[in-house]
């Protein structure tokens, strides 16, 4: 079962795109996601896929082209990073509000400035309220698997929202690792044919898309978007279950690693979760009951489900790879803590901003977090919940 391969994260996404063979890909290259449209355009050029590849002159145009083609009724994809997503800004809100299930590979990178091309999550966190579904991926395998599942989720009639699959720039996008690919025909059957109910090129149903929407209706349309985001949770789980039937690989809204008896745990996203698992294993060999909760689905956020997973802990650390610069705490921290509060769960919680601009996150750094948690567990309270990890002059 499956095809044993070794690919970089970018190669994995390009391979998934090739297997899905979408109708349209519109993209503009930007580090570290450049290789995705680069590899994919060779598949177009040599006839491996029959996708219409639109080489645009900017990311704003890339997203505009995606909106046009998806609205017309074509399955559409793109890839970008950081400032590329920034330049798409006004169009990503239009994509979600027009309920267009565009699929994007977002290779996470710091949004400048000053200029930095390395990994953090500031690009994704900026888009967290834009109405896009956001899936995060620990490694190349998960980036690939999430991408294979993306269309089924986004295009579901109870959802109809655009979706971005995130992975860490360079750390996974440029690292060669083992991966198990799915056979082409299985991917094709799993993803299925795209048959939108309503689309612009349907001459039997003339329609307008994106007209003026003022006080009388915009609110209701936003409310519907919010409902679609709620529905997405259920659909993600259904699609993940089908995916497990095909591959044996199980995905939920988040992954619990050694949480059954854990007393302290780290909540984080993307590649750091792998390093946290490695660190938790090391600590467990010394008798420390350490666990990891890896958030896969950040939008919609599994508020009550995550709180439930954390309820027996003596202390929890939430790691944000983006600083919200709000004098309060990172985005993931605030979402997790809101769930604990709503569940009336008094688990001491602390936030660490880490890994900004590609600062490497080592097992030693995460061991320090676990050690801090043991102190917090002993004290039963948190003095300063908004902390930094691995920054000079402030530890």
């Amino acid at each position: 079962m499956g095809i044993r391969e070794r690919l970089s994260g970018n190669e994995a996404i390009a391979t998934a795109m090739k297997q899905i063979n979408p109708d349209v890909v519109a993209a503009f290259p930007i580090t570290p996601s450049t290789e995705i449209p680069q590899y994919f355009s060779t598949f177009v050029n040599n006839g491996t896929v029959d996708t219409e590849f639109v080489a645009v002159e900017s990311e704003h145009s890339a997203m505009s082209a995606c909106i046009g083609s998806e609205a017309a009724g074509a399955r559409t994809m793109t890839a970008t990073s950081a400032n590329g997503l920034s330049l798409m800004w006004e169009m990503i809100y239009i994509a979600s509000s027009l309920r267009l299930p565009i699929v994007m590979s977002l290779v996470n990178r710091a949004v400048s400035g000053p200029l930095n091309i390395h990994n953090d999550h500031s690009d994704a966190m900026g888009a967290r309220d834009s109405g896009w579904i956001q899936l995060f991926s620990e490694n190349n395998q998960e980036a690939y698997d999430n991408f294979i599942m993306a269309n089924r989720i986004a295009e579901h009639e109870d959802v109809l929202l655009p979706l971005m699959v995130c992975q860490d720039g360079f750390i996974t996008s440029h690292s060669i690792e083992n991966i198990e690919l799915i056979e082409d025909d299985k991917v094709k059957n799993f993803v299925g044919k795209y048959e939108p109910k309503h689309y612009l090129l349907n001459d039997k149903e003339p329609m307008a898309i994106g007209p003026l929407d003022l006080q009388a209706y915009l609110f209701e349309h936003k409310r519907q978007q919010a409902e679609a985001m709620k529905n997405a949770k259920k659909v993600i789980l259904e699609v993940s279950k089908d995916f497990e039937k095909m591959t044996g690989r199980k995905y939920g809204l988040f992954e619990e690693y050694k949480m059954e008896d854990a007393e302290v745990a780290i909540v984080c996203m993307n590649s750091t979760a792998g390093t946290a698992k490695f660190t938790a294993d090391k600590l467990r060999s010394n008798g420390i009951k350490a666990g990891v909760v890896k958030i896969r689905v950040f939008r919609p956020f599994p508020t009550t489900e995550v709180a439930e997973a954390l309820k027996n802990l003596k202390a929890v650390a939430i790691l944000d790879k983006s600083d919200s610069l709000n004098a309060a705490g990172g985005a993931l921290y605030e979402d997790v803590v809101a769930g604990l509060y709503q569940g009336k769960l008094n688990v001491p919680a602390v936030n660490y901003i880490y890994g900004i601009g590609g600062r490497d996150t080592k097992p030693d750094d995460l061991e320090k977090v676990y050690n801090d948690l043991l102190e917090i567990a002993k004290a039963g309270k948190v003095e300063n919940p908004y902390r930094y990890l691995g920054v000079r002059g402030d530890n």
Binding site: N139, F170, H174, I176, E177, T272, G274, T275, F278, K362
Partner: protein, 193 residues
């Protein structure tokens, strides 16, 4: 072989250290291992010091950080010995492999008292003799395979012929020279006494 072997490469932009780390990952993958091969990206320019990494294991690898306590270090350009701390964190149970013609006394002094095994190889000579040009990464790839014992010489050579056929599909005339470079290098890498 240990459960997890970690290797750090030091080279200069343009010498192929990154490519060598990816080829090593490929070769280990083909013998059934779990692998990681990744460069540390900086401002890329010809001649600037660059670092690349490999993890090779019999079990899945979850850690995603750079490597700070490698089992092995490969130095593709000996001019780095005076500007980069190439033995930083290097385990004394491991080894360092250097492309150099410098004498043993110089190497020991340049490595600041590193007590582990030191190996050297004249990758320039081997490359010029076998390929007619200076591509140090092919000899260094063979040297680290020999020193680390990640796989046998036969497994390695059998695998590399396949990799080269794929990599050089458009210039098959260089395959024989590269294979010769590997064979010679497996023999030529010498321990510093």
């Amino acid at each position: 072989m240990n459960k997890l072997v970690e290797i750090r490469w030091h080279g200069r932009g343009g010498q192929g250290a990154k490519t060598a780390s990816l080829l090593l990952a490929d070769a280990a993958f083909n013998t059934g291992k779990y692998i990681q091969g990744f460069p540390e990206y900086g401002p890329e320019r010809m001649g600037a010091p660059i670092t690349a990494y490999n993890r090779i294991s019999d079990e899945p690898i979850t850690v995603h950080s750079n490597i700070y306590e490698p089992d092995y270090v490969v130095v593709v350009d000996d001019t780095l010995l005076e500007s980069v701390n190439v033995t930083a964190g290097l385990k004394e149970s491991g080894a360092i492999v250097i492309n150099t013609t410098k004498d043993d006394e110089y190497l020991k002094k340049a490595l600041n008292g590193y007590n582990g095994a030191i190996y050297k190889i004249d990758a320039r000579k081997i490359s010029i003799d076998t390929l007619g040009k200076y591509f140090p990464n092919t000899p260094m790839l063979a040297a680290i395979v020999k020193v680390s014992g990640i796989m046998s010489d036969e497994e390695f050579l059998n695998d590399m012929i396949g990799s080269f056929k794929h990599k050089f599909a458009k210039k098959p005339e260089v395959i024989d020279g590269n294979m010769k470079a590997l064979e010679v290098s497996l023999k030529e890498v010498k321990k510093v006494k």
